[in-house]
Assembly symmetry: C2
DNA sequence: CCGCATCCTTTAAGATACTG
DNA sequence: CAGTATCTTAAAGGATGCGG
């Protein structure tokens, strides 16, 4: 149980409860279906496109590319393209991305640890 | 930078990177567009449907009802319906829900605190 | 009147094929 | 290899109705 945030807080730092606040969009990107998994995998270190595609089971190339673009746009992921044949593109977390990844990883860890209890409670 | 999880970990507690693992579905529910905001508001205490609708700016009644149903199904939210006219339905976090809410709130707090930097970096 | 359920429209996601 | 373009399919969202 916490108290509602003060007005000064809501003006100074953005407010996810306000529909017009840009934090809403960032939160949507970070908590996106594939973004969560990509951030977790990238926390292990730099990965190439194809490696991400293999680690994040079930992601399509289209969604992987789109999600990486969003994360890059938000400054959470850095894209480095090596001009060689065949092409070689590396994706790395920025310092900001490392922080975001740590948060979503803690959440995912919690889900993984509690999923047996959750599934059991469903009957 | 962390290391890839051991095989025993991936079998014992669920693995969000495996498409078939039920943790994927739970993670999707918890990180859903509206679920994140609903969990945060419910952390302040029990709320009724109409109050949630007002606090979570932009949510439709349909999405609010659907998301609450998912969270209830996962055992994160408890629904108490008082048989009065006009109807009165209360939603409360379960102990499990409190934990989940704490995690998503920390993530949302981080986003709110860093959104100025993120928006600025976009140019 | 509040809390949904149902219908219908709009948007996002997924599969597939193709190019620098 | 690392994407993009195109098409199909599923999910999100909005308007409306209805039972309690």
């Amino acid at each position: 149980m916490t108290q509602p945030p003060s007005l000064s807080d809501r003006l100074r730092r953005g407010d996810v409860l306000a529909a017009a606040c840009p934090s809403r969009e960032v939160l949507r990107h970070v908590t996106g279906r594939w973004a969560v998994l990509i951030l977790i995998v990238l926390e292990e270190g730099t990965q190439r496109f194809s490696a991400l595609r293999r680690r994040v089971d079930g992601v399509s190339e289209r969604m992987l590319a789109q999600t990486l673009k969003h994360l890059e746009h938000d400054g959470l992921v850095a894209r480095v393209s090596h001009a060689v044949v065949p092409p070689h593109v590396d994706y790395t977390l920025t310092p900001l991305g490392e922080e975001a990844a740590a948060h979503v990883r803690r959440l995912a860890d919690w889900v993984e640890a509690n999923v047996p209890q959750i599934v059991a409670a469903r009957g």
